[in-house]
Symmetry: C2
Subunit: 377 residues, 2 copies
Amino acid sequence: MSTGFELLATDGAARRGRLATAHGTVETPAFMPVGTAATVKAMTPDAVRATGAEIVLGNTYHLMLRPGAERIGRLGGLHRFMGWNGPILTDSGGFQVMSLSALRKIDENGVTFRSHLDGSAHAVTPERSIAIQHLLDADVTMAFDECTPFPATEDAAAASMRLSMRWAGRSREAFRDRPGYGLFGIVQGSTYRDLRAESAAALRAIGFDGYAIGGLAVGEGQAAMFETVGYTAPMLPPDRPRYLMGVGRPEDILGAVCRGVDMFDCVMPTRSGRTAQGFTRRGTVNMRNARHAEDPRPLDAACACPACRNHSRAYLHHLVKSNEILGAMLLTWHNIQYYQDLMAGLRDAIVAGRLDAHATELERGWASGDIPAGETG
Amino acid sequence: MSTGFELLATDGAARRGRLATAHGTVETPAFMPVGTAATVKAMTPDAVRATGAEIVLGNTYHLMLRPGAERIGRLGGLHRFMGWNGPILTDSGGFQVMSLSALRKIDENGVTFRSHLDGSAHAVTPERSIAIQHLLDADVTMAFDECTPFPATEDAAAASMRLSMRWAGRSREAFRDRPGYGLFGIVQGSTYRDLRAESAAALRAIGFDGYAIGGLAVGEGQAAMFETVGYTAPMLPPDRPRYLMGVGRPEDILGAVCRGVDMFDCVMPTRSGRTAQGFTRRGTVNMRNARHAEDPRPLDAACACPACRNHSRAYLHHLVKSNEILGAMLLTWHNIQYYQDLMAGLRDAIVAGRLDAHATELERGWASGDIPAGETG
């Protein structure tokens, strides 16, 4: 029953694992490209798969509003709808209801709000969130929670976290257990260690197939995030996957993997691909910059994606300057490839027991900066 | 020397041929996807190739303004710049200077104008147009001409055509002949048969590697276009390829192939792909229409493109409604695939000597209309 998780190796706190779902397995640590509106923006499913990505994330809030969860259900679920036959994790809608919708009202029962698309009225409760995720046929369903705003007083963070814990219980009740399908709980408690401990204990008592750390990457900064992840991860059952929601930059992912996190999602590689930012082994590069205009080199010589294999920086720069769709397509592909390569490197390093050395190499590369045209590294 | 052209079969006036260029051969009749700004919009070069397209078109006007012809030359030419290693035909810039630029002034020497991008001043003469196309390394270079506006009085059309013929001579002089590289002349003369005859004779006297019919698809209507093509094609040397510029819809291409045209280009499949129009064997389909919202069928069941192979109309409709880049990507891919399939079918029909019957089948399909969801054809 449920999703499976196998711990294959550890290196310090870092873990090399394998998540088994109804639609296939996921090697962890894993990065999940975000497919908000049933598409990883500017990528075909074939292209996503070609980067090595094994699981994508869908957004309950966006999909319930358009095209609608019942419609996707009638069309055979999100996998068939978007043409992605691998595992899918869906969020619960809680975070985006709070960040995107209008006139939202939260009470013990759930959240009422108006759509940012057309002003239509909607309600999401834990039961409705789980029902939507069942309609989407998510391999991994997330418990419905409130993402506690940052900063929050300890009293406010406690009240918010305890509401999420009651909703976690209702989510568990509403979830229909089936082989290959799992439900993850979400630890809240802001940056308060006692609240995180209380939340983790509450979730463990309910029992979940995986445990997410929520309420981070919301403005607290990397140091506070690492500190919170560092003490929260050990509060979670070692035999279940751990998912740090909405994280992050490559350096954030590295730090969280070193602290025992297994799964990540973030819009950064896709969104950056549409705003001319390329991630490389020597840090991020702004392809809009005029210094690339006659640079015949690839964005990242070590990368095997089509943008780097077939095209020059000069061409990518031209596409960006000309607002050509192909610019967004190629840079998005590259960034997703970079993130997948990053995760593959971390997995290998954990198995080899050399994560510390690998982390130092990665950090040195990012810090070294891009090599100017005409020079050699 | 120059490009080669082999006539493989005929069926009535229609011709099945093969164009040989420095970067490969092109089976004709052929449709050339338009790669205006060094990209077939929303398509990777791999995807363009996967549709069966063998040659693409580049626009001298756009490329001279951004990123600049000298820059592309320094980067190794347009093939390397855009990552397309097959044949490329470039237009002369004449048409788009007149339709897109500002403050243009035309005289015997050429055209001066200001860029629609930044207002910068530019001049194009026949010599400069050819030099630009050499910098781009075009396999097929087009003579510099004035696309006579429509409608034009016979006097105005004659004056414009004779200017283009003088420019054709200068283009020929400026062209540097090399193996695999060809120069095409462009017949003008609006819808006046005597002027077309005079123009064709002038070009034949100069001698070109191929002959284009210009000044059509500019508002004269399909009947006048077919009439003009019908009497102009026989005025051209049978042993050279014939190219009808800027045409067109599938039914326009069919009619022109039947009248002896070998090559076509048009923005229609790519532009339509960005405005939710899909070409099918049963006519065009507007994917924005709400009737597709729960339609699980592919856009065109007979099509092997990724949009039709992997996705439903419901999904394409959702992408269009959500303004997702993937919607433009998939519909563009489909439309280019449709055009390439159309050309392959025409080539096969000519060889089989059954073009008339094939034309009737195509026209019946287009006229039959899309099958509503829930019904079977």
